[in-house]
């Protein structure tokens, strides 16, 4: 994934500063609570939500199960409709392909629709290295780009910025990139949106190359779908001569009809709307309407490795709605940056360690960035059981085991730093198998309870760093049960 995140500290360290930042916490709390209530209302409007969710899950599972076939079908359909299909095994290859395609047009700048896939591969930085300027045109992406910042939310990458901060960024940075912010710009959202309109207009009107992702690709027809709000997507998809779409291979669905499920569940889950303002569909190129040249870059970059994991592969059902971020108590407090990836929140905690592997500190810590409360699973419109995958990945990190990396099956060694945890689990297993020892130990603990420390020493210190050590009762439960016959003899 993007080089921006290389060398990130583990989640607990990264989250610590965010949790202490009261402005950030206020901003995140306001935004996530606003959208939470609205989403619940938008979902309650459709009586068959559970059936739509189930169908979405089944369509995605079915597609993944026959992914090779649908990708070949898609390639044939896009080609027949006048497009050119490229395959990229990893981020570097995708970046090289896009840079070459842009260079072949003779252009030195591109306008971009917000796209998670191009964020993931660090396309902007790669293009910059080749002397190509990439302009982000989604309002939130623009805020992130102008502020030389990192995205912190899937749908609203600048969710960590409040309106005052956005105004300050526009005032100080817009001039360096093009048309400056209007004089006397205030922090009302309508004025900020107007400033973005004016700033980007000239870039849209002169753009020769557009770069996009896609929300869906229809195998049967070769149709791509982009769902958006502002119209920047339509600008990038229809005004330039050349369109390059970089799309993860898991974004394919079998048929045109399958869109009827996702075009109902995606807008309600992401922006809590019955329908987002603009949805564009296109199939290859159309004579006299829109780009004359269309390239589709199909991206693997860890997806086939994820597909090989029988528990973890359900993460590939994700349609990037970000409902799981908005309901997550950990995300609400830690913010998106702590996840060290363009995919933050609960879905990021299961996606990043699978796409990138768990070799780095941040990726090995992500499966633990959750209280396993299950709110994410409940709101997921394709029913990804995120807690199940988190527990599965924790097991992988702590115990090691077989995984697939770059298409090869390898056996992961247990991660460092989990030695104490494993020793504790071994001790617990032994104790539960030896009731006499367990009883003696519990009695000893009860009798000495006045002398217990409030925090654990040694390797246990980290555990009690953010938790109270539970007090040991005066009498072990088993002794109490025997003495009182299960409470029948008056309890105490």
């Amino acid at each position: 994934m993007s080089g921006t995140f290389v060398g990130m500290p583990a989640f607990p360290e990264a989250a610590r500063d965010a949790v202490r930042d009261t402005t950030l916490r206020g901003t995140l709390r306001h935004a996530t609570h606003t959208i939470r209530a609205k989403r619940a209302k938008a979902v309650a409007e459709v009586s068959d939500w559970a059936a739509l969710r189930e169908a979405g899950k089944r369509i995605k599972d079915h597609t993944l199960r026959h992914l090779d076939r649908y990708l070949e079908q898609l390639e044939a359909a896009v080609t027949a409709a006048g497009g050119t299909v490229h395959w990229a095994a990893d981020a570097d290859e995708a970046n090289r392909i896009v840079a070459r395609l842009v260079q072949e047009t003779g252009e030195s700048e591109v306008v971009k629709v917000k796209s998670m896939a191009t964020q993931e591969i660090g396309l902007n930085e790669a293009l910059e290295a080749e002397g190509i300027r990439a302009y982000e045109t989604d309002l939130a992406e623009l805020i992130v780009q102008l502020g030389e910042d990192r995205p912190s939310h899937i749908l609203v990458p600048a969710i960590h910025r409040n309106r005052g901060e956005i105004r300050d960024i526009f005032r100080s940075e817009m001039g360096r990139w093009g048309r400056p912010a209007p004089e006397g710009l205030t922090d009302t959202p309508a004025e900020l949106a107007e400033a973005a309109r004016l700033h980007l207009r000239e870039k849209f009107l002169r753009a020769g190359v557009g770069v996009s992702g896609a929300n869906f690709m229809v195998a049967e027809t070769g149709t791509l779908v982009v769902v958006e709000s502002e119209g920047n997507g339509r600008m990038c998809l229809t005004l330039p001569e050349t369109l390059i779409s970089v799309v993860g291979i898991e974004k394919v669905v079998p048929s045109w009809r399958d869109l009827e499920v996702f075009l109902q569940t995606l807008p309600r889950s992401s922006t809590a709307e019955r329908m987002n303002p603009y949805t564009s569909t296109w199939t290859g190129t159309t004579d006299g309407d829109g780009p004359r040249v269309f390239h589709l870059v199909l991206l693997d970059n860890g997806r086939t490795d994820t597909l090989a994991d029988e528990v973890g592969r359900q993460a590939l059902r994700c349609i990037r709605c970000s409902a799981c971020l908005n309901v997550c108590p950990v995300y609400e407090r830690a913010g998106g940056h702590a996840y060290g990836s363009v995919y933050p929140g609960p879905i990021g905690a299961i996606l990043s360690p699978q796409l990138r592997g768990t070799a780095s500190d941040i990726d090995a810590s992500l499966p633990y960035a959750s209280s396993l409360c299950g709110a994410c699973y409940e709101v997921c419109p394709v029913a990804i059981d995120i807690p199940e995958v988190l527990v599965h990945l924790r097991e992988r990190v702590a115990q090691g085991g077989p995984v697939t990396r770059d298409g090869n099956k390898v056996v992961l060694r247990p991660a460092r730093g989990h030695g104490a945890e494993r020793a504790a689990m071994r001790a617990a297993r032994w104790a539960f198998r030896h009731p006499g020892a367990l009883r003696a130990g519990q009695r000893l603990a009860s009798r000495t309870r006045r002398f217990h420390p409030r925090t654990l020493p040694g390797p246990g210190r980290a555990w009690t760093g953010s938790r109270d050590l539970p007090p040991v009762p005066a009498e072990p439960f088993r002794d109490w049960w025997q003495r009182t016959h299960g409470g029948k003899d008056g309890g105490r």
Partner: protein, 209 residues
């Protein structure tokens, strides 16, 4: 081995443990939400369009030219983009300069046009959506994007369906389509919806019938 073969090979190895299953996908969801008369469906479309800040008008066929004329005048539009197949009588009530939808027009030229008038392919009542598919009365995608004012005429009740599944059925996937639900908007500032970013900031929908 090229990347295409490499990726497809990885997919096949990753799925070696999973049996193929070609049984049709179970679709337990509804084709539409609730039964309505044609008139009720049109009313729901009007309500949902208005909810997302589209300006909704209703008129009979003989009133359409004067309505469009009035809307353009109120807006102060001096020029209007006209798709090649638009019924010429629709613009009989306006003096605004007609600008043809031509392949050779540049984006900058389109940016100088005040308004655009189009028909539509289908409208979705449950979501408050009009869908354009590039038919002759709708023109190229960019003409409904660059001008700041879009008047879209929907023939009711024929062009109105209840739901997204019913709309997809009517559309040809090989034609580029644009689904429009209200004027352009953003939720990017504190996750609150604000209307008016890059697309037309004023969307007027005329329900004709």
């Amino acid at each position: 081995m090229n990347s295409r073969e490499r990726i497809l090979g990885r997919v096949r190895r990753a799925l070696a443990d999973v049996p193929r299953d070609d049984s049709p996908i179970e679709r337990g969801y509804l084709r539409r939400h609730g039964e309505r008369t044609a008139e009720e469906t049109v009313a729901l479309l009007a309500e949902n369009l208005a909810d997302y800040r589209a300006l909704v008008h209703r008129c009979a066929p003989d009133e359409l030219p004067s309505l469009i004329g009035r809307l353009l005048t109120e807006r102060g539009s001096a020029s209007v983009l006209v798709p090649p197949g638009l019924d010429a009588s629709w613009l009989a009530g306006t003096d605004a300069a007609r600008v043809a939808d031509r392949a050779g027009s540049t984006a900058h030229e389109l940016d100088r046009v005040d308004s655009v008038v189009t028909g539509c392919a289908v409208a979705v009542a449950e979501t408050g959506t009009v869908v354009l598919d590039g038919s002759p009365d709708q023109g190229r995608r960019r003409i409904t994007l660059v001008p700041d004012h879009h008047i879209c005429v929907v023939r009711v009740p024929d062009q109105v369906v209840s739901s997204v599944p019913e709309a997809l059925e009517r559309l040809d996937p090989l034609r580029p389509s644009t689904w429009i639900s209200g004027p352009s908007a953003t939720s990017d500032i504190e996750l609150d919806r604000v209307e008016g970013v890059h697309g037309p900031r004023t969307l007027e929908v005329v329900l004709l019938g």
